[in-house]
């Protein structure tokens, strides 16, 4: 059984059809890519899977259960974590707090612990902190732990955002343009990091990316989206040479 199965998902923004009859199957532990020109509906698909939007039609099944209509935090707690294209970080919080607070779903000391500070709370807070440091180390941003997020360089902020997503212990990680705005060197490092967390934690990864280097390097299969519809699906090599994909990106050759 696939980890995530999306069947016949369609979404309208008013009269605009953003996603049409979208299908997807992600197996445990695989890395899959989603590409397409600007405005093709890639981020909308992420927002639909994570519950920010509710699809007009279609089913989203995660680990055998339909998750359509669940609030986003419940979907996230079931094991779908994500990062955002424009990095939705919390501007007044430190790096450590970012990662720590993403353990929210694991809190078991309840409100009594939160208000009164029971031994159980102290134990669990210490555990969260230790795990947070571990994730920051894994992403190579441990040295920034006690800095407020806005003081960090851009690339490091991207890494913190991934560490924060990992703190929710995802089975499926959705990365929305993880290498956007990075220099070529940073991009290569990011690819290495993604590969490393994948091999260490073994979750499935579904990523949107514009930089072909990244997608081609990381993904086993790639979906290409245009105007909300999948126009091609296959291995990196197949996608690279698919005339339909080339047309979507570069336009049709004018035959005279």
């Amino acid at each position: 059984m696939a980890l995530l199965e999306v069947e016949g998902m369609t979404h309208y923004f008013g009269g605009l059809r953003a996603v049409h009859n979208y299908n997807l199957q992600i197996q445990r532990g695989e890395i899959r890519g989603l590409i397409g020109p600007n405005g093709a509906g890639k981020t909308t698909i992420f927002n639909l899977i994570t519950g920010i939007y509710r699809p007009t039609r279609g089913r989203i099944v995660f680990e055998g259960e339909d998750i359509v209509g669940l609030p986003p935090h419940r979907i996230a707690a079931r094991g779908i974590a994500r990062t955002f294209q424009n990095m939705l970080l919390w501007r007044h919080m430190t790096v450590l707090e970012h990662v720590k607070v993403a353990h929210y779903a694991r809190i078991d000391y309840g409100l009594v612990g939160a208000f009164l500070g029971t031994p159980r709370r102290r134990r669990q807070e210490a555990e969260f902190e230790e795990r947070s440091y571990e994730l920051l180390r894994m992403m190579g941003v441990e040295r920034f732990a006690n800095k407020v997020i806005t003081e960090l360089p851009y690339g490091a902020q991207r890494r913190v955002e991934i560490a924060r997503a990992l703190a929710t212990e995802p089975k499926l990680l959705l990365l929305d343009e993880p290498a956007a705005g990075m220099t070529p060197e940073e991009m290569i490092e990011m690819v290495d990091t993604i590969r490393r967390i994948h091999s260490m934690l073994g979750m499935a990864i579904f990523l949107i990316e514009h930089r072909m280097r990244v997608v081609m390097d990381l993904c086993e299969t790639i979906q290409t989206l245009n105007f909300g519809e999948v126009i091609a699906e296959g291995t990196p090599d197949e996608i690279r040479n698919d005339p339909v994909v080339i047309e979507a990106y570069l336009g049709k050759e004018v035959v005279t």
Partner: protein, 445 residues
């Protein structure tokens, strides 16, 4: 080369700076315990020789709130007053603090081995200072009670406006709910009253059950807060601000039209059970509980909701529960503070809980600093004291305080001590060369 020398301050200036630093350096090594001891010495001194010294200096009586009211009314007393302040407060406190720093540092380090004991000792000393300071004047006593209540209100409002970043105007409403609920309970159960008749329980039980009445008042306020918490799921920012403002006025007109609690004439006969010790204990519990909360992962979720709700949801945070908990717990403490206020003053009327109260609490929060427990303590204490000190100026007080607020807002838009984590145990540790547990043989010299 020339630019390098130009950047440095003139030699004389540098010399003066280092002299000041050298003179002040012993005081840098005074732990919090030492300052408490110094303050205690000062208030004890005032207790024993304060009034005779005041007479000698030509002052009619001891300066109640650091002499401000007298200085403003009778400027010819300013020199005498300054001498009094230096002789009674500054010199003794500073000298005792610095002279005992070896002892207090050692003691602070020793106490820290048992954090609970350390906190208890510091709190007892703090209360001792307040006790002796207030023993000299009923007015001081009342101001201290009101200042502690203001701290509770400020801190609980900070949970919503600072930590969760919503602009809530509903605090006077919460306070009114708590004040009326607690008052009705105590008057109904323990007091002979024209409307509520004879007491239902023996009045001797009253002081023991008083905390329960306050808690009940807090819970009523929490219940009322649901009316704000539920709209907050969908409305944010200005829109929620308007809803919370409406809530305050709805509560106010509810009590204006409720004849059984006196309508606009107000409600009195509250028994006098909220003495300074009671208010102090409640304020300490309030600060401890809220500080505990905002430092937990639960509490940090409030910050996440403030700084980005979409990301918070995506990181498993139940934003609805977070908002509900924030509103309800803040309302609870506002309700308890309201109940205390009613029993301190012994009279409440709906007009007390209107726009003026709202402006005061908001000013305390934004003056002290958003997202900061220590800022709220400073804001609540500071503005209460300051507004009492400026009382002789009458109407001009309401020109000066808002101007001050404008000044703070332009210099530090988030308040004086904003975004600071409050770790009481860090504050209570030893200082200077005693820090880090290294004991120096020459300590105390």
């Amino acid at each position: 080369m020339t630019t390098a020398t130009q950047k440095q301050p003139p030699a004389s200036d540098r010399h003066r700076n280092s002299t000041i630093r050298a003179v002040l350096s012993p005081w840098r090594e005074v732990p919090f315990l030492g300052w408490l001891l110094g303050a205690l010495a000062a208030v004890m001194l005032e207790h024993s020789v304060g009034s005779s010294l005041a007479l000698t200096l030509g002052l009619r009586r001891i300066p109640v709130l650091f002499g401000f009211e007298l200085m403003l009314k009778a400027p010819q007393h300013i020199p005498g007053m300054l001498v009094y302040l230096v002789l009674v407060y500054m010199l003794p406190a500073a000298l005792v603090a610095v002279a005992t720093r070896g002892l207090t540092n050692a003691l602070a380090a020793r106490l820290l081995q048992s954090p609970a004991l350390s906190l208890a000792v510091h709190l007892v000393l703090l209360y001792g200072c307040m006790h002796f300071w207030c023993a000299l004047s009923d007015y001081r006593y009342l101001v201290a009670q009101l200042a502690l209540i203001a701290v509770m209100l400020t801190l609980s409002l900070n949970v919503i406006n600072g930590y969760m970043g919503e602009f809530s105007c509903s605090h006077p409403g919460f306070m009114a709910l708590g004040a009326y609920a607690a008052s009705v309970l105590t008057v109904l159960l323990f007091v002979e009253d024209d409307v509520f008749g004879p007491p239902l329980l023996p009045p001797t039980l009253g002081p023991f059950l008083f905390p329960l009445a306050l808690v009940a008042g807090g819970l009523v306020a929490s219940l009322g807060a649901l009316a704000v918490a539920i709209p907050s799921f969908r409305a944010r920012g200005d829109y929620l601000g308007v809803i919370t403002l409406a809530f305050t006025f709805v509560v106010k007109s509810l009590f204006e039209n409720l004849e059984i609690v006196g309508g606009p004439r107000g409600f009195m006969n509250q028994p006098n059970w909220a003495g300074l010790p009671t208010v102090f204990v409640w304020a300490v519990v309030c600060v401890a509980v809220i500080n505990n909360f905002v430092r937990s992962t639960f509490g940090k979720a409030l910050n996440a909701v403030r700084d980005g709700e979409t990301a918070a949801e995506a990181m498993t945070i139940n934003t609805r529960r977070t908002k509900t908990v924030a509103f309800l717990s803040a309302a609870f403490w506002a309700g308890v503070a309201g109940g205390l206020f009613a029993h301190v003053v012994g009279y409440i009327n709906p007009a007390t809980f209107g726009a003026q109260k709202l402006a005061e609490v908001l000013a305390m929060v934004y003056f002290g600093g958003l997202n900061s427990v220590i800022g709220s303590i400073a804001g609540g204490l500071g503005l209460t004291l300051f507004s009492e000190m400026l009382r002789p100026l009458e109407v001009w007080k309401w020109v000066i305080i808002p101007m001050l607020l404008v000044l703070v807002m332009t210099r530090r838009p988030t308040g004086l001590i904003a975004f600071r984590e409050f770790d009481a145990l860090k504050l209570l540790g030893p200082r200077g060369r005693w820090e880090g547990g290294v004991q120096d043989g020459t300590a105390g010299g």
